[in-house]
């Protein structure tokens, strides 16, 4: 296991209502940490807090010892809702992070080409978002997040909007991309199967106000078989944990 990269130590209130309570965990370098929680438990709030887009009302998130901020750290984010920028071609969209970080044209070109290939969007560089499918839009979002070679990659239910089949294909895809280019990932989802399929480690959250209910290290060999006994056992265990009434 890699060294500790991100240290999370937060409680968060919104309009006086407690959303997150005593959420303490660390994210290790190059791990694929999945956070599972029921709908409406503050997962998106947590993602925004982790990315430094929102400040917690209590505690803080640090990365390499510094308070996390997109201005200092090289963070990427894959959003839950479709996030393609309508007036940009896929190419311009994918390299937007490099543009913001003022990378030199050569890097932009190299990195852009590499990630487009990585997510299999070659030939679509000049398309506009309205011309492509939902699954492809999510690939663009992933390519865009990967393009800046982030130290910390957050994914907030990135496949939540996709149909079951596309979702499954995207899970395979994201694993393929991650294995080719290891990144420190925090992946947020409400889907336990998805969590077990992707994670090196899973953190389970409770209902609102969210607390950490459990933590699992997933050591099943990849590519994981969704129907193997060890996979199903793991899934069952986490499902049970989620159903425990407090």
């Amino acid at each position: 296991m890699g060294k500790e990269l991100v240290d999370v130590n937060i409680s968060h209130k919104f309009n006086g209502m407690s959303i997150l309570e005593d959420i303490n965990f660390k994210v290790n370098e190059n791990e694929f940490l999945v956070i599972v929680g029921p709908t409406g438990c503050g997962k998106t709030t947590m993602a925004n807090l982790l990315a430094g887009l929102v400040k917690p009302t209590d505690g803080g998130v640090t990365m390499n010892g510094e308070v996390i901020s997109p201005k200092i750290h090289n963070i990427s984010f894959v959003f839950q809702e479709p996030s393609c920028i309508p007036w940009r071609t896929l190419w311009d969209d994918i390299v937007i992070g490099l543009e913001i970080k003022k990378a030199d044209p050569q890097t932009v070109d190299q990195r852009g080409k590499k990630v487009i290939q990585l997510v299999g969007l070659e030939g679509y560089e000049d398309y506009f978002p309205w011309q492509i499918s939902g699954g492809m839009k999510q690939r663009v979002a992933i390519a865009r997040a990967y393009a800046t070679d982030p130290d910390f990659l957050l994914m907030d239910e990135p496949f939540g909007h996709l149909d079951a089949q596309t979702r499954y294909l995207m899970q395979i895809e994201i694993m393929r991309v991650w294995e080719k280019e290891k990144k420190t990932v925090v992946f947020i989802t409400n889907n336990i199967e998805e969590a077990v399929y992707l994670a090196t480690r899973i953190i389970v959250l409770s209902k609102l106000p969210a607390r950490i209910k459990g933590e699992y290290h997933i050591n099943i060999n990849r590519p994981r078989d969704l129907t193997s006994p060890e996979f199903l056992n793991m899934r069952l265990e986490i499902t049970k944990q989620c159903e425990v009434v407090e």
Partner: protein, 263 residues
Amino acid sequence: MAFRYQEQMKTIFYNIVSLIGVAVLWSLFSWWQNSPFFPSPRAIWVAFVGLVSKGDVEGIGLGLHIWKSLVRIFAGFSAACVLGIPLGLLMGLYPKLYNRTRSVIEPVRFIPPIAWIPVAIVLLVGFSRYAFLIWLGAFFPIFITTLLSVTRVNPVHINVAKVFGASRLYIVRKIVFPSVLPDIATGMRVGLGIAWMCIVAAEMIGGEMVGIGRLILKYAELIRMAEIIVGMLVIGIIGFIMNEIFIIVERRIFRWRSQVSID
């Protein structure tokens, strides 16, 4: 592609049919009435030719009338854009600025340009009177659409930039501005329409005896309907052509939008 072409031909065909239909009905009506107050399309055509070749009662040609009006519209409309777009952007980006001055801005919006005529006469002279009245009409649609559009920028697009550490300036230039641009164009198109609607009112008080609005007023005093209708049609047709040009330009610029539904 062939299908789309066919569809376009059909559209053009039916538009021509509609035009002819209206002309026929109009002819029948004026024939039935047989009155100088309902000139036939033929009489209107004759009046048009007369205005072009010999000019109006003072010998001013139709071309000059049109030109003068165009210049005035352009002046008022440009002023509306130059003020309305930046102000809309500014107040959209700083909603407090708008919210705290709302009671000043909003009531002004409901005062019709015609109601401003006495004020314009007292305070302004010459060309500025025309420009002011047209500006009044065009400013609010441009300002309000820009303002509202800024508040409706998709927050995800802003967050996409934010998470990469983008500056505020970058977000305004590269996210907010391109995303409100189509709405600004729509506001401009609406503003241009209203600018044309204000031309008669503006030329009532401008003093100069030239301009399409003035032409209508001149012949209104003489109760010569054919020339009045020529003036009306000229306004309608020029407005229509400008709007069509606008739409074509919009389609070109905003090619990234899916089926641009602006017609």
